[in-house]
Symmetry: C2
Subunit: 215 residues, 2 copies
DNA sequence: GTCTATACGGAGATAGAC
DNA sequence: GTCTATCTCCGTATAGAC
């Protein structure tokens, strides 16, 4: 009798608000796509984890590409931005001469170390999307450009000896490359702390004495 | 009539030596898995590209994991090794005090820039295999260790001021991370030269004056 | 908003003929 | 060594009931 009731309970249709469901779908899809890639995940997998049917899921995402769109557009770049850093009140961020760029990168790495699932998702999607046929190809192919545009819109506090735009652009490129590399390394053995590993890169990318008062 | 003959021609069974077929399978699978990942590729896809049936392919690889085994074991580490560098006759490689480690890394990057397909394959597999359920998980998880073992078996020509094992190990780790990051960047826009990009990392990872006579 | 039912195709794997 | 045939299961997507 108790058992029957449990079964009925489990099958009962639960009607959630669209925002709640979308949140659930996002969480489930992030975990699953991080694990098996876009091509490796089925709508049924995601639906099962959310607790709805596959047809019910399609009501939200229209088709499989819509699910990917949800993942790509709505997560990664909404937190950990330079604006978030500035708003964090970190001493390096609120300096009267402008926020510290190395300080922001430290902030970003520390933040990313708390969301390994998301890092894994973006590592996997970033790798599969190298092929031009992948539905997220354009998004990832343009990331270096869009990140540069985002970063170069900020009035960072930079050492005067950093003259050319080219020099700082290369520094940004190398920082992103080092971070991507560290994030790949993060899932291997022996385990490392990405915060510590980034500190080593910071030392060589933003060396003394030039950057001593600008970190 | 001519058409019929063409059809017959196309369907004619061609019996190749195992080595030739395996080579074809390797080439096809590399391209396809690089593009869509392990989960995204079907045995049928590979069989089509080789020009045999799916059952014919299974004769060679036994099951899908066997195909992955072929890819992982038989390609990446068979060329571009420190031994190949030493045998290349490069001036930095045949120095009487031992081969140059930065010189080897330059050699490796230059070599990798000629085999982008393979780099893409390993980037994709390396990303998907972060999940513990992936059949190549152990191989990629252990790569930092096995690469370190390979590199530390060589009597490199190192600056005397590099004292501890720890110091050189961190340098190796950072070099691998930077390379992985550059390789991710390689498939994005604007296009970059991984050789040039590595030269920038070499400057900061192996700086003057310490490394001046050891590059 | 969520379900069931269904259409239609593709997946991996095996058996056995040639 | 390679094929055809077949098994069994899973994939996306749509229609329509509730």
């Amino acid at each position: 009798m108790a058992e029957q009731q449990i079964v009925r309970e489990a099958r009962k249709r639960v009607r959630l608000t669209p925002a709640q469901r979308t949140e659930q779908i996002l969480t489930a899809a992030t975990r699953l796509v991080a694990r098996k890639g876009y091509y490796g995940v089925s709508l049924q997998d995601v639906a099962d984890e959310v607790g709805i049917t596959q047809a019910g899921l399609l009501h939200y995402v229209r088709n499989k590409e819509g699910l990917l769109g949800l993942l790509v557009e709505q997560q990664y770049d909404r937190a950990g931005t330079p604006q978030d850093y500035i708003a964090s009140g970190d001493p390096g961020a609120v300096h009267p001469d402008g926020p510290s760029f190395p300080g922001y990168l430290r902030y970003l790495v520390a933040f990313n170390s708390t969301r390994a699932h998301l890092i894994q998702l973006y590592m996997v999607l970033g790798a599969e999307s190298a092929s031009e046929q992948h539905p997220a190809h354009a998004y990832f192919a343009d990331r270096p450009t869009s990140v540069w545009e985002l970063y170069s819109s900020i009035a960072w506090r930079l050492p005067p000896s950093i003259g050319s735009f080219d020099e700082i652009r290369h520094l940004v490129e190398m920082s992103l490359e080092a971070m991507d590399g560290i994030q790949v390394r993060m899932f291997r053995r022996p385990a490392i702390s990405i915060v510590e590993e980034w500190a080593r890169f910071e030392q060589v990318l933003f060396p003394s004495p030039v950057w001593d008062d600008y970190r």
